[in-house]
C-alpha cells in the first residue's frame, strides 16, 4: 500500500492491522474462507437421504461457501474494525477516523474501506458502470440470439441464464445509479454537510455491493439464473445452483440498500445546513430521500422472500411448494411487494435529478416546487399499494383486480404532476442547449410513452392480452432505461465537473446522446410491435411473423451499444485528459457548486447558511 502516513503513524513494518486492510486482503480472505467452508461443508454435511427433495446437499454447500466468501470479504475489507473495537470497550481514535476518511491517502483510498462520502460516491460510480457493462454485454447476447426466428447460437438454458442475470444485474445497477454516485458524492455537499450521518455505514453499503457481485457472477458457472429476474417459485426451486448465487446476491444487496437508506434519510433529515428549511431544500434531495425511503420497507421483504427461497432449496421447507402446504403466490406477493416500489426507487431520483437541472439550463425558477414535492410524495404513497397489478392474470385473487386497477391508475395523477413541473419549467425559458437539457426532452418523450403503455397495462382486460409479452418488456425498458437511465446519464454529465474536476467532452457526449436515444426508441418500438402481435417475453425462439420486429430491435440495440461505448470513452478520456473544470461551470445556485475543485476533505471550511431557495434565477431583473 502506498499510503502516505502522517507523523503519528507507526513505521510501515508496525502498521496496525486496520491499515493493512484493502481490497486485496478482502479478496484473499474472502476466497480463502469460501474455499475452507466449501471444503468443510462437503466433508461434514450428511449425504442426501433416499427420499429427500432434490439437490438439497448441493445447495447447502454452495450457500455455505458463499456465506464464507461474504464473511471473509467483509472482514478482509475492514468492516469489522470498528465493531471489534466496540467489543473491546473502546472506539476509534481521531487519527484512526482520519485514516478511515482517507486523509492524504491518494488513489489508495479508493481501494479500501474509506468513509469519506466523496470516495464512496466515486466508488459507486465505477461499480455502477461495471454493472452496466456486464448487463449491457448480456443484453447484446440476448439481442444477437434473437436475430433469428428459430433461436440462435445460445443453448436454451444458457439463453435463460443470460436473460435472468441481465435482468437482475440491470435492476440493481439502476437502483444504485443515482442514489449511489450522486446521492453519496453530491447530496451531502448540496445540503451543506461535512459528511454523511454515518460515514462507516456509507463505506459498508458500498462494499456490501462489491461482496454481493461475487455470488451473482459465480452463478454463471453454477448453471445460471434460469428463471428470469423475478425468480418465481417453484421454477426457482427446480433451478440449478446459480439460483443460490441469486439468493445470496439479493440478501447482501438488500442489506446494503437498507444501510444506505437509513444513512441517506438520517443525513437529510438531521444534517441540512442552517436555514435550509424544507421549502429551500433542492428537489434532488427530495428525490433521493424518496427513493431510499421507499426502498426501506421494500427490501426487507425481498430479503425475506429470498431467505424462504433458500430454505426451500437447502433446508427442505415448503414455503412456496403447494405439495407441502405452501404457495407460489406467496412468493409472487412478496416479490412484487418489493418489485413495484422498486421501479419508483429507480425512477424518482432520475426525474428529480432532471428537475434539479431544468432551472439551471433554462435560467428560471423551478415551476411549482410544491407540486413537484407532492408528486414525489404521491407516487411514494401509492406505489406500495399497487403490487398486485403484476398478478392480475395469476389467478391469485381475481376479486382484488378491481381495487388494484384503481390504485394503479391513480398513480398517473402524481406522475402527471412531475410532467407538469418539467414542462412548466422549460416553457418560454431561454434554453441553454447541453446534453442534460436535451435529456429533459428525451425524458419527457420516453417517460410519456412508458407512462401511456403503463395505463394500458394497468387495465385488467388489456393486461390479459399483454401480460407476459414483449410489450411489457418494452414498457418497463421505456420507464427504467428511457426515463431512468437518461436521467442518470444527464446527472453524470451535469455533476462530472464536481466529481472529477474536469469537464466531460462535449462532442462525444452529444454523439452518445443521439446514438443512445435514437437507438433506444427504434429498438423498443420494435419490441412493442412484436409484443402487441403476441410474442411472449423470455423466449429464445419465436414465430416467423415476429422476425422483422426482432431484427429492427436487434439492429437498433447495436446503435445503443455504440452510443454507450462512446459515452464510456468520453468518461474515461475526460476523467484523465479533460479540460479542467471551473468551480461552477453551469452557474448553478445550489451549494455543491460553492466548494472548490477538488472538494476538500470536509467540504466546507465554514458551514454555509442558506437564506433563499436554490432556484432564484431571473429574480435579479424583476
Amino acid at each position: 500500500m502506498t499510503t502516505v502516513m502522517n507523523h503519528k503513524s507507526p513505521t510501515a513494518s508496525h502498521r496496525p492491522i486496520m491499515e493493512r486492510l484493502n481490497v486485496v486482503t478482502a479478496l484473499v480472505l474472502g476466497i480463502a474462507l469460501a474455499v475452507i467452508s466449501y471444503y468443510l461443508a462437503s466433508k461434514f454435511l450428511p449425504e442426501n437421504t433416499e427420499g429427500s427433495v432434490m439437490k438439497t446437499r448441493h445447495d447447502q454447500i454452495i450457500l455455505i461457501a458463499m456465506f464464507g466468501w461474504f464473511i471473509g470479504f467483509m472482514t478482509g475489507i475492514g468492516a469489522l474494525v470498528a465493531p471489534v473495537r466496540w467489543l473491546m470497550g473502546k472506539d476509534l481514535s481521531h487519527d484512526e477516523n482520519m485514516y478511515l476518511a482517507g486523509k492524504d491517502a491518494g488513489t489508495a483510498r479508493y481501494f479500501r474501506y474509506t468513509t469519506d462520502h466523496k470516495v464512496v460516491g466515486i466508488q459507486y460510480l465505477v461499480i455502477t458502470m461495471v454493472i452496466f457493462g456486464v448487463g449491457g454485454i448480456l443484453a447484446m447476447l440476448i439481442r444477437t440470439n434473437l436475430g433469428h426466428a428459430e433461436g440462435g447460437w445460445l443453448h436454451p438454458q444458457a439463453y435463460n441464464a443470460v436473460v435472468g442475470i441481465h435482468g437482475i444485474i440491470m435492476i440493481v445497477g439502476t437502483i444504485i445509479m443515482i442514489t449511489g454516485p450522486f446521492g453519496n458524492f453530491i447530496m451531502p455537499i448540496m445540503i451543506g454537510a461535512r459528511d454523511m450521518a454515518f460515514p462507516r455505514l456509507n463505506a459498508l453499503s458500498f462494499w456490501l455491493i462489491v461482496a454481493a457481485l461475487a455470488p451473482i457472477l459465480s452463478s454463471f458457472f453454477l448453471g445460471g439464473i434460469t428463471t428470469g429476474w423475478s425468480a418465481y417459485n417453484p421454477l426457482a426451486t427446480q433451478s440449478p445452483g446459480g439460483m443460490d448465487g441469486y439468493i445470496m446476491f439479493i440478501c447482501i444487496f438488500a442489506i446494503s440498500t437498507m444501510v444506505a437508506g437509513a444513512n441517506i434519510t438520517t443525513t437529510v433529515v438531521r444534517m441540512r445546513a442552517k436555514g435550509m428549511t424544507w421549502t429551500r431544500t433542492p428537489i434532488f434531495i427530495y428525490g433521493t430521500v424518496a427513493s431510499v425511503a421507499l426502498a426501506l420497507p421494500a427490501f426487507p421483504v425481498f430479503f425475506l422472500s429470498q431467505v424462504m427461497s433458500a430454505m426451500d432449496r437447502a433446508a427442505g421447507t415448503t414455503f412456496y411448494d403447494t405439495r407441502g402446504g405452501g404457495s407460489g403466490w406467496l412468493y409472487e406477493n412478496l416479490f412484487w411487494l418489493m418489485g413495484h416500489p422498486e421501479v419508483y426507487v429507480i425512477l424518482i431520483p432520475a426525474v428529480a435529478a432532471l428537475m434539479e437541472m431544468a432551472p439551471v439550463f433554462t435560467r428560471r425558477p423551478l415551476f411549482s416546487f410544491k407540486i413537484a414535492v407532492m408528486g414525489i410524495a404521491g407516487i411514494c404513497g401509492l406505489s406500495i399499494l399497487v403490487w398486485a397489478h403484476h398478478m392480475y392474470v395469476t389467478g391469485w385473487a381475481p376479486l382484488l383486480n378491481a381495487p388494484f386497477m384503481l390504485t394503479t391508475e391513480l398513480i398517473s395523477i402524481p406522475t402527471g404532476m412531475l410532467f407538469l413541473v418539467l414542462v412548466g419549467t422549460v416553457w418560454r425559458g431561454r434554453l441553454w442547449m447541453t446534453v442534460p437539457t436535451a435529456s429533459i426532452f428525451a425524458l419527457l418523450l420516453n417517460f410519456m410513452i412508458g407512462g401511456i403503455t403503463g395505463i394500458y397495462l394497468s387495465d385488467v382486460p388489456a393486461d390479459a392480452a399483454l401480460h407476459g409479452s414483449m410489450f411489457v418488456t418494452a414498457h418497463f425498458h421505456y420507464t427504467l432505461m428511457g426515463a431512468g437511465l437518461t436521467g442518470a446519464i444527464a446527472a453524470l454529465i451535469f455533476w462530472f465537473p464536481k466529481m472529477t474536476g474536469r469537464m466531460i467532452d462535449k462532442q462525444l457526449s452529444w454523439i452518445s446522446f443521439w446514438l443512445v436515444q435514437i437507438g433506444f426508441n427504434v429498438a423498443f418500438m420494435g419490441m412493442f410491435m412484436v409484443g402487441l402481435a403476441g410474442q411472449p417475453r423470455r423466449v429464445e425462439a419465436y414465430a416467423e411473423l415476429f422476425t422483422r420486429g426482432n431484427q429492427i430491435t436487434t439492429g437498433a440495440a447495436f446503435v445503443i451499444m455504440t452510443g454507450m461505448l462512446v459515452l464510456l470513452w468520453a468518461v474515461i478520456y475526460s476523467w484523465r485528459n479533460g479540460q479542467k473544470a471551473p468551480m461552477n461551470p453551469w452557474q448553478s445556485k445550489t451549494l455543491e457548486w460553492s466548494v472548490p475543485n477538488p472538494v476538500p476533505l470536509e467540504n466546507f471550511e465554514t458551514l454555509p447558511i442558506v437564506t433563499s431557495d436554490p432556484y432564484g434565477y431571473g429574480k435579479a431583473q424583476s
Binding site: Q238, G395, A402, M417, R430, A464, A465, V530, G618, Q621
Partner: protein, 254 residues
Amino acid sequence: MSDLQTKKPQWWKSKDVKITAALWVVLSVFIGVIGGIVNSRPMGQPASETMANTIHIMKLFTWVSAPVAGLVAAIAIKSLMQKMHFGDNPPAEADHQISDSPKATALWLIVSALLCLFALVFGMVVFQRDNNTLLDVHAADVNVTGQQWAWNFDYIDNGKFQSEDLYLPVNKPVHFHVTSLDVVHSFWIVQMGIKVDANPGYITETAVTPTKIGVYDLRCAELCGLLHAYMQKKVHVVSQQDYNNWVTSHGGTI
C-alpha cells in the same frame, strides 16, 4: 398555460400561447390517430369479443391520454422553437420569474384526475363484461393442464376424453379450468385476448367465446424453464358440425 397568472390581462392573446394551443390540437389528434393505428394493427383481427373489447379499450385509452401527451409535446416543441443558447457559459437569466401558477396547476390536476377517472370507470365496465362469460352456465368446460413443456386438454363435457389439441366450436362460450403439474405456466390464446396462469396445486379460471372460425395461437406466457419458447400450440376454432366430428373421432360424445 403557465402564464395564467401573469399580469397581462389577455394572456391568451400572447403569440406563444396561440402557437402552443395550435400545436396542442394538432398533436393531440395526431397522437390519438397514430397511437390507435400503431396499437391495433399489430394486434390483428380479434377472434373473440374479449379481444375486440381490448383493442377498443386501448384505442380509447390512447385518445384519453392524447390531450395530456399532446400538451406536453406542444410545450416541449414550443420551447425547442425558442432561440437556443449554445456555448460554455450560461445565457442571461430569464426576464420573468414564474415559479408557480396555482390556476394552471389546479386545472392540470382536475383534468388529469377526470381523465384518470374516465379511464378507470370505462375499464371497470369492460372488465365486468369479460367476467360475465365466466358465469355463463351454458359454457362448455375444458380442463387445461400445463406441464413442462406441453398442454393437455380434458373435454369433461364431451365424454371426458383427453386431447393434445384444442378444438373449439365457434360462437359457443367455453370455460377453461387451468392448472399445472410442475411450475407456473400461463395459458394465453393470443388472438382471443385471454390469459391466466397455470399454477401447480390450484385451478384458475378464464372464459371466452370464439367468434371467428380459424387457427389461432396458444402460447405459454410465463417463463417455465428450458423449452418455454416452444410451449405453444394451435387453437382450432371450427363450426359446430366440424367440432362434433372431431369429438366423435376422439372417442367423445356430443
